[in-house]
Amino acid sequence: MKLAVTGATGYIGQRLVALARSEGHEVLALTRPGPSRPSLAWMPFDLSQPRCPELPCDIDVLVHLAAHVGPSREAPDELRAALALMTAAKASGARFVFLSSQAARPDAPTAYGRSKWQIERAVEEAGGWIIRPGLVFGGPSAGLWGRIVWLVGRLPVLPALFPPAYVQPVHVDDLAAIVLRGALLCDGITRVGAPEPVSFSRFLRLVARDRVRRWRPRFPVPAIGIVWLHRILGPTRSERTGISRLVSLIKLEPMETWDDLSKLGFSLRPLDSALRSKRRILLVEARGLLRYVLRDDPPITLLRRYVRYVERVHGGTPLILPHVTTLSPFALRVYEHAHARIDQHDGSVRSRIDAAMAIAEASTAGSVRFIAALEHRRPFASVFWIIRALVTDVTARGLALLARPWINVPAQPEAMKQ
């Protein structure tokens, strides 16, 4: 596939270009003079100069990511630029993909949102494909994401808005993958973002935990306060500090993304592990499973050994466990039972737990746990343990049965597939 991309040097553009080239596609960047990477083929294009670029005729797709990011006063006529691009695409027989936003509405509070809406209508008429992502995050710090990371790093507290504001995040690499997957096939509007909206404060906490790697206390901030701040600062200063983006965030309508993602057959990576390296994800899995079988905090050597096992025997593919199961052994019991019932063929949860058990046993900590106390024990202690174990197991099994309609066994996220 040969793609022409505007905004190739931007936050999303860089990831899209990298992914496309790694998959063997050719990329032509439509960018202002001075490409960022010497090996990237490029052609001059500027949003503020709405000249219709002459595209080579073997371009299959034109992906329009470029958008104005400065103050709205200096905003170019993005609609004209988009129309010019669409004409160029039609001339060379390429499909047109437009990256819009969740904020796209005719009555959006920001010019950004309104402008996106206008362009969307033109694209729709021309038969192109519109992608509406939620909050794009992850990857190198750039764009709005970069601003959020910077803020979380600098602020001493994390604002917790009340009433809570919700976002529907999507990892930038997932977004790039979606663009490539649907480039030649899709049209209409595809909404991309976490199907279950996540509170912005929780999102910030994950950024603090996994990206910035600092702990920050939460500080309640009334949502109203942000809106007043925005009004007091006025449009210019509010844009400069990013408050306007925050305001548009608060006023976002939730998107229904489940159907669109299902149609694409794409599974977004879960938020809990999205900002973590694969190794960290595996370490979390190791700690969860080993604690479950050992009834105690596993020593680091065992964690590393489990991770090495997954890397050697399963190619490093992690189990995607619900977050609660890595914290509560009882929850993992229920999950273990539920999984055994739901899918007889996919024994992956069982087999990983069994592997964790074997790894745990082959250790000095394991000798304490797996071999009955090497001092003589009163028989009643043994009977107590047995009865307790049976009762807990039966309870967990019962809960697994009841919870079956709600247990959503997630498909393997695309990112984790080898």
């Binding site: 479950y292 079988v293 009834r295 050597t301 050994r305 096992y309 050697r312 025997v313 052994p329 993992l332 019991r333 273990e336 039972h337 087999s351 737990i353 069994d354 592997a355 058990m357 074997a358 790894i359 046993e361 082959a362 250790s363 000095t364 394991g366 000798s367 304490v368 746990r369 797996f370 071999i371 009955a372 106390a373 090497l374 001092e375 003589h376 024990r377 009163r378 028989p379 202690a381 043994s382 009977v383 343990w385 047995i386 307790r388 174990a389 049976l390 807990t392 197991d393 967990a396 099994r397």
Partner: protein, 534 residues
């Protein structure tokens, strides 16, 4: 030794080594060929519970480098997963082009063969059972005596299984039993008549494990490392005999995988060895096949161009768990990990044999995965009762098995089979009989623990080229010579006339010894004397 050997022995397991001694005694030149695999893990130094409590690197013996123990979880027997025994089983299927369908077709490319990883169970056939052999019974009896004294047996005691095992005349006293087994035997003895009336007999296990020092091998010191490697060398393995053979004049041992056999126009047999580079044909006056029933049968069927299926016998097997609540909370200790008590249960017209052993040396995970509980509860439960449990196994006569072997046109060995309805019915009856028998001694057979093994899972393969008084094509005569392949003898389980429920290794070794004697007699009477006479 230079030049052509008198005899080529294919396989260095118990049969192969047993055939060699009479040949060397007759000053014949012997070349032994085997798969050559050797251990890659030293046995642990400390006793089992000590290295489990103290060693940080115990994963080497329990998981193995590169997590070998966690990879193939399909095999039922834990010993097939123990990293230290990996070398015994590795590569056999590929090297012998085995295609198994619903059957365990396991063999060894190791020096010493499957005896490098076995339970050391032994027994001698009764006079009645020896009737099936087309040779004078006393020849085998004498061979039993020679072999038993050489390898070292223990377990001789005056109990209800003395005549069943039939080896007490050649065996040392038993290794001391642990408290669980001793108590069970006492309780059995107190009610022995009641047990007999139900067709149940019990006694000490007779095993090929030293209870007294012998040569450089030391007596069992109950370290509990039976599954992981015995530093005392108390357990018999064919490599022990190989040490002795290597010191004898006229003996040569080389690594070489025999891929074909045949007989030349002059009646002299040859073997084709796959060596690095290509294939080499080696000639001798006699060839002895002792590579294990599966491999030996494959070589024979290919050489005879027999395309059809051949019957293979193996003992249908089962395993179960026994529990005695009175022992709950008992402190586990290091002890002998192989069979301590054996039993015989008559079930209708068929007789089953089994042994009991302590589960201490077996990883708890092996048991927990069989429980129907979540793992956390499974571990809680199993660890609480393990020290008051015993593991038992059970074998039925090989005549009840339904296994078939055939060599395909591509040269693959196809093995297929299933448990017939008769086997399943008998096993169900046995489960009930044993439940009652053990209940009488105060032990519970844990519900749902009685598990039927995969056909062939006992690894007691045999009787595929059975010896008969008048052998037909594909059978062997009293000296093990294959009908249709003169001067090629079968000395391993393949030539046994039948596989009973008794452990068959000692019988294979005695038969191999006898065949060695026959070959030696034949060759030394021959005017073409050996070039090597020292």
């Amino acid at each position: 030794m230079s030049g052509q050997p008198d005899v080529i022995v294919v396989g260095s397991g118990p049969a192969g080594v047993s055939a060699c001694f009479p040949l060397l005694d007759a000053s014949l030149g012997v070349l032994m060929l085997d798969g050559g695999a050797t251990p890659d893990l030293e046995p642990p130094e400390e006793a089992f519970l000590d290295w489990r409590s103290n060693r940080g690197d115990q994963w080497r013996w329990m998981l193995g480098a590169d997590f070998v123990a966690l990879r193939d979880r399909g095999a039922v027997s834990p010993k097939l997963r123990v990293p230290g025994h990996r070398y015994v089983f590795e590569g056999f299927g590929e090297a012998n082009r085995i295609v198994a369908n619903g059957v365990a077709a396991v063999g060894s490319m190791a020096t010493g063969g499957l005896s490098q990883s076995w339970g050391c169970g032994i027994a001698a056939l009764s006079e009645d059972e020896l009737s099936a052999f087309p040779c004078p019974k006393h020849r085998i009896r004498d061979a039993y005596c020679v072999v038993s004294r050489r390898i070292g047996l223990s377990g001789a005691t005056d109990d209800d299984l003395s005549s069943y095992f039939g080896v007490d005349a050649w065996a040392a006293p038993p290794i001391p039993a642990d408290e669980l087994h001793s108590e069970m035997l006492d309780r059995y003895t107190a009610q022995r008549n009641l047990h007999h009336s139900h067709g149940f007999r019990m006694g000490r296990s007779r095993v090929a494990v030293l209870s007294r020092d012998q040569g450089t091998r030391r007596a069992c010191s109950a370290t509990g490392n039976c599954l992981y490697g015995c530093r005392n060398r108390s357990l018999y393995a064919a490599t022990e005999d190989l040490h002795a053979l290597r010191r004898r004049a006229g003996f040569r041992h080389e690594k070489g995988h025999v891929v074909a056999i045949g007989v030349g126009k002059d009646g002299d047999p040859w073997v084709e060895v796959a060596a690095q580079g290509g294939r080499e044909r080696l000639r001798a006056r006699k060839v002895v096949l002792a590579a294990g029933a599966l491999t030996t049968t494959r070589l024979a069927l290919s050489a005879l161009s027999i395309a059809g299926e051949v019957r293979l016998e193996s003992s249908p097997t089962a395993a179960f768990l026994l529990w005695r609540p009175q022992h709950l909370g008992r402190r586990p200790g290091n002890g002998f990990g192989l069979g301590q008590l054996s039993f015989v249960q008559q079930s209708g017209s068929c007789r089953a044999f089994g042994s009991l052993f302590s589960p201490t040396g077996i990883p708890l995970s092996e048991f927990v995965v069989r429980l129907p509980f979540g793992r956390r509860s499974g571990i809680d439960i199993m660890r609480s009762i393990m020290s008051s449990c015993l593991v038992g196994n059970l074998f039925l006569p090989g005549s009840m098995s339904e296994l078939r072997l055939a060599v395909s046109s591509d040269g693959d060995l196809l093995v297929r089979g299933a448990h017939g309805a008769a086997v399943k019915a008998v096993m169900r009856e046995l489960e009930a009989d044993l439940r009652r028998a053990f209940r009488r001694t105060g032990w519970f057979l844990v519900p749902r623990s009685f598990t039927l093994g995969v056909p062939g899972g006992d690894l007691h393969y045999g009787a595929s080229l059975p010896m008969r008084a008048s052998p037909r094509r594909g059978e062997t005569d009293a000296a093990g010579t294959i009908n249709g392949l003169p001067n090629i003898h079968v000395a391993d389980g393949a030539s046994l006339p039948e596989i009973s429920e008794k452990p068959h290794t000692l019988t294979i070794m005695a038969n191999a010894h006898r065949i060695g004697e026959e070959i030696a007699a034949e060759l030394t009477l021959d005017p073409r004397r050996s070039l090597n006479k020292e």
